[in-house]
Amino acid sequence: MFEPKVKIDRALYQTLTKASQIAGYSSVDEFIVHVLEKAAAEVEQAQSEDEVRKRLQGLGYIE
């Protein structure tokens, strides 16, 4: 199974470890994956809303 690794700054890793403990995650990995999933979903959502807006403008439904 392909398991990519991402390099991050040591100080950031320590910050994330601390944050994951405060937030009650079982591991820093779980915390990071969750945060990244959420961030990616937000970006995708924003892109989709933008494409929908452009389509609605093209069809004359919004200004």
């Binding site: 959502q45 989709s48 494409e51 929908v52 069809l59 439904y61 919004i62």
Partner: protein, 186 residues
């Protein structure tokens, strides 16, 4: 209470406006966008809706009426009113094909491939559905376009009951013209 007919463009919102009007519900619309080959019976739009994101100060005009508000603009409805939303759902393949035809007639590039547009619409509709379910001033009646055409006698009374308004179900059903169902996925 304001009745809102919503959904993606080409999902049957104009048809639903005709159905409600036939049933006896007054519409808030104007003739700014005339009927054309895409909507031979008219669009039933109110031009102020197009600028809803910038100006919603006029919405009190819609009290006691039905008004058409395209899906993405629902987020801009002011909170001080109660809304009963008839939300049209239609097979996305049909919606996208019909939109592309309309874009071509307006001489506008459709831009994205159908599959990409489908993914964007799916994400948009999913998020909107969750958002609407959390709004205390909104009630939603999801209405499937093809079912409305196939079985109006059953759905018309259900819509009337949802709105809490005595509408004429026979007249509502008779407002449907199945020959205008031109983009079929199957």
């Amino acid at each position: 209470m304001i009745t809102v007919v919503s959904g993606l463009p080409r999902s049957g919102t104009s048809m639903m406006m005709q159905i409600l009007q036939a049933g006896g519900l007054p519409l808030l619309c104007d003739q700014e966008r005339p009927a054309d080959e895409n909507n031979p019976r008219g669009y039933f739009e109110y031009q102020k809706v197009r600028r809803l994101a910038a100006d919603n100060s006029w919405l009190a005009e819609a009290e006691g009426h039905a008004i058409k508000v395209v899906s993405q603009l629902l987020y801009h409805l002011p909170r001080q009113f109660e809304y009963c939303i008839v939300f049209m759902r239609r097979d996305l393949t049909e919606v996208i094909r019909s939109q592309e035809q309309m874009l071509a007639s307006r001489q506008v590039e459709s831009g994205l491939e159908q599959q990409a547009m489908r993914e964007h619409f799916t994400r948009h509709l999913d998020a909107l559905e969750i958002w609407m379910s959390k709004q205390p001033n909104m009630r939603v009646f999801p209405c499937d376009f093809s079912r409305m055409i196939a079985d109006p006698a059953r759905l018309a009374p259900a819509i009337s009951a949802f709105l809490g308004i005595l509408l004429d179900p026979e007249r509502m059903a008779s407002a449907i013209d199945p020959t205008l169902y031109r983009q079929k996925a199957k």
